[in-house]
Amino acid sequence: MTDFNEIQQDIVEEFSVFEDWLDRYNYLIELGNDLPGIDPQYRTNEYLINGCQSKVWLHADLVDGRLQFKADSDAIIVKGIVALLVKLMNNRTPAEILENELFFIDGIGLRQNLSPTRSNGLLAMVKKMRLYAMAYQAKEQKAKNHE
């Protein structure tokens, strides 16, 4: 599987061809539209990350030691960024997720979307992804200790 940072690099390069903001957004919208919505069972308050203006739903499973994220948003641009995050984070071990820095968001000029003052739930989603990774890592550790 492609290296974490290589994927980030790829994303940044992909975006670098767009000179105009609107082209970037068009691309994000495309990505958002392509991302399958989350199963209705997860589109509930339990999985909701509430931004002030847009919502994000997130769920994660551990399958064969790797995290499987399902995520969605009611705003399509947010969903586009969610798609990028899922693409990057999916199928990773908890360790991979916890070790690596996220730089692509910055690299494609979307950092403001992750600022703590932004009302879209994305920052909370990134935090939640890491929390999932931590939780599953702890669980694995515990299981190992019992072996």
């Binding site: 919208i29 203006q53 009611d74 399509i76």
Partner: protein, 406 residues
């Protein structure tokens, strides 16, 4: 000199700004307005040459500053035609003013079982202070509903006004629907029952002449930053007889007469309600803004904005996928709308990237959103420095947005 939009735009330096290399089209004036150069220069000159704390001191700078502060009070008095400067209290903003009244009026006049009447279209700042006071006093909040056009259902007013009603708190103009409320009618009917009325003028004073004596309202509040003045400042107008009876809201320097641990006596109006070192630069900056508005002409501004309203409305209504929320004919230049199947956040983000600043969300009027069963709107709020061309650019922007998102 007549209303010269080009000159006016030059008076506001920020309007020459670019965002994302595009000319800024600022349509978020309902949130805050920009400042004419004269206001900015007033602040700078104070801090560079004249700064001093006011009242109490007798040295030169303090004398000068005090007299400018007190003449700012007179400027405000005359702007809203209050009877006396004793009725003009400088506060931290509309929210500060409403909290002061809710607390102080509540302490004096509200008891368990009493009722406070507000409307369904109030800004959170004219809801929550009353809720907090009601909770403290065991009183109850009653609500005048609005209809599908976004107009108050006045036919319900007489039923809602009861012998338990202690005060009516109503917005003069709605920040999310644009409606200008029939406040004189409400005041008349409330006064028939001897119930005082507070008007929230945060969205009205910047759009047209306000005469508190003609309105006969008992309290009137507004924020400096929404009428081209500095942040952190605002006004509470109250009829002298009422303010005289009400206990002070905050304690501190300047609002006292004699202080001892056995007991403290309070200063006269308006100082009784101004505790601590006042935000004198804010008050003086506000006065500079009001003087500027007068120099442009509040009538001229009103007339120009009527044209803007007509034009904007026509253009927005020309977009098939757009639905306006708040269709009152009597309105300020504020438009809330939604685009078919498009999330407000997405629309806001895309418009932003075209240099167009609109607000998306609930605009601090969650009950209005609940009324329509929506989670928010896109809001374009214009003032007299906005132009028809900017409206054209907004409409173009909306069309692009629709194209991108459908």
């Amino acid at each position: 000199m007549g209303f010269n939009i080009e000159q006016i735009r030059k008076d506001f330096p920020i309007l020459q700004q670019q965002v994302y290399n595009k000319p800024l089209i600022y349509l978020d004036n309902g949130a805050t307005t920009h400042k004419p150069q004269v206001v900015i220069d007033t602040l700078r000159t104070i801090y560079e040459k004249q700064n001093s704390s006011i009242h109490r001191a007798i040295h030169y700078l303090s004398e000068q500053m005090t007299s400018r502060y007190e003449s700012a009070r007179e400027t405000v008095r005359s702007f809203i035609n209050a009877a006396s400067i004793r009725e003009i209290i400088f506060t931290s903003g509309a929210t500060g003013s409403i909290n002061a009244v809710a607390f102080s009026f509540g302490e004096k006049y509200v008891a368990a079982g009493d009722e406070i009447l507000i409307s369904e279209m109030e800004h959170h700042s004219n809801i929550v202070p009353w809720q907090m006071m009601c909770e403290r006093k065991g009183a109850q909040l009653k609500v005048i509903p609005f209809d599908e056009k976004g107009e108050l259902q006045l036919d319900q007013l007489d039923e809602l006004l009861s012998h338990k009603t202690r005060i009516v708190a109503l917005t003069h103009a709605s920040n999310s629907l644009g409606t200008i409320n029939p406040v004189k009618e409400v005041i008349r009917r409330a006064h028939e029952r001897e119930i005082p009325v507070l008007l929230d003028g945060a969205q009205m004073v910047q759009h047209g002449a306000v005469d508190v004596r003609e309105l006969d309202c008992d309290f009137y509040v507004f924020s400096s930053h929404k009428i081209f003045g500095p942040t952190g400042s605002g006004v509470l107008y109250g009829k002298e007889a009422l303010l005289e009876e009400m206990p002070p809201y905050q304690g501190g320097g300047d609002m006292v007469d004699q202080v001892s641990f056995e007991g403290t006596t309070y200063n006269t109006l308006p100082f009784k309600f101004e505790a601590g070192t006042s935000h004198y630069t804010g008050a003086i900056g506000l006065a500079a803004a009001l003087d500027y508005i007068r120099s442009v002409g509040i009538e001229e501004i009103g007339r120009y904005e009527q044209e803007l309203i007509r034009y904007t409305r026509e253009k927005l209504e020309g977009i098939e996928q757009l639905k306006i929320y708040g269709e009152s004919e009597k309105r300020i230049s504020v438009f809330s709308f939604l685009l078919d199947n498009i999330h407000t956040y997405d629309a806001g983000m895309i418009l932003d990237k075209m240099g167009i600043a609109v607000r998306t969300g609930t605009h601090c009027t969650q009950p209005v959103m609940d009324h329509f069963g929506i989670s928010g709107t896109i809001r374009a709020s214009l003032v007299f420095y906005n132009t028809m061309e900017e409206v054209d650019r907004l409409v173009e922007g909306i069309r692009t947005t629709i194209q991108m998102l459908s």
